[in-house]
Symmetry: C2
Subunit: 225 residues, 2 copies
């Protein structure tokens, strides 16, 4: 990192192409989440569960539209730009296909929380006008609260379920980190963006620590700690 | 009908239980459309098509939420109320499962248009405060314009496709009318609501004529007339 850089000022400019890449990655993430949530909702034991999942999925498309419009304003076609991020996100979902409704609920909750953490962290290293887009998306998350009571009830009734879902949630975090690392390995401009914050490389390590920490908090909320 | 009833004033009061039933029927229609659009989007030849379908599906959940909130304000739980309308709507979708992407596109467009016609017609017989809810949902439709250019292009290139899709669109209208009649046969309170407008029974016949007319207009827009 550059020691002469003021701590409060991000190094990347608003027109940096890495920002197009970041928005494209996030946009594909939203579309992939839409289709996966909708597919996983088939496991819902009742109409109410299916509707909760559908509402969350619909919120993902709202996020997508914010990112699509931001890219359009930057002269970038979202569909063309985001295609290159499909493999990482599809791999994450393929490797974390739930086999029960409770696994689907935990995945929804953990995925939503990880996305929110990521959005919040990344907003801090972005120029203000760009951070505004990311925060606008973030302000729309939090649709997954319906999960908490259902999971808590199930794990209070069964220690076996608790162990099983705790393992599952660790696997979700692990796969997300693995895919994030593949994305960074393939996209130097994103690495540059992540490293552009005041903490540089140290910040990346801190980021993963904080992700682990907030993940642990979520596990406690779900009764899985 | 009651000849002493002023023509401009609907007979049904805002607290009439038929309005709960109507909202419940419309709410299930939105949820069913969400899941069907998402499923039919699998046939899309590319990511752009899948995203257009996902955006439409997300809009259906927005409509659902307007209706859910209106029912909650009336002290009615949407999920419990709408379950009885599941068979008619699921039957419509089951009997009109598209076998190609073009059929899926036409179904999306025709279904969206029929829903808009129905919402517009029904709003006219409702008390103002209730009609406001229906018009709020209606103002959110119109996400299916992306269909027009794709279908026109396909049918301009192939007379066989045109004949096939014209037949398909007539079948969609026919199945919708059939299922609407089943719903009315099972729900006297909805019949009462439909008959409460200034035209009474005559209005029902007029309604189906207008539905046919606007359906013909849509077929022309798609190049299928």
């Amino acid at each position: 990192m550059n020691a002469s850089q003021p701590v409060s000022e991000p190094r990347v400019q608003a027109d940096h192409p890495a920002i197009d890449e970041l928005f494209a990655l996030l946009a594909y993430g939203e579309v992939a989440a839409f289709y996966r949530l909708t597919e996983e909702a088939r496991m819902a034991p009742n109409l109410r569960g299916r509707i909760n999942m559908a509402s969350m999925a619909a919120a993902e498309m709202g996020h997508y539209e914010v990112l699509r419009d931001a890219l359009a304003a930057r002269g970038v076609d979202v569909v063309a730009a985001m295609t290159r991020y499909a493999p990482a996100l599809e791999n994450y979902h393929r490797l974390t296909t739930p086999s029960t409704w409770l696994e689907a609920l935990v995945k929804t909750y953990v995925g939503d929380a990880m996305a929110a953490d990521f959005y919040l962290e990344i907003a801090d290293v972005l120029p203000d006008e760009v951070a505004g887009v990311v925060r606008a998306v973030l302000s729309e998350t939090g649709h997954s609260q319906f999960v908490v009571s259902e999971v808590r009830e199930a794990v209070a009734a069964s220690g076996r379920q608790r162990s099983r879902l705790a393992l599952w949630s660790r696997r979700l975090l692990g796969e997300a980190i693995t895919q994030a690392q593949y994305v960074l390995a393939d996209h130097d401009e994103l690495v540059e963006l992540v490293l552009s914050g005041p903490g540089g490389l140290g910040q990346v390590a801190d980021f993963f620590s904080r992700l682990q920490q907030t993940h642990d908090d979520r596990m406690r909320q779900l009764g899985l700690a």
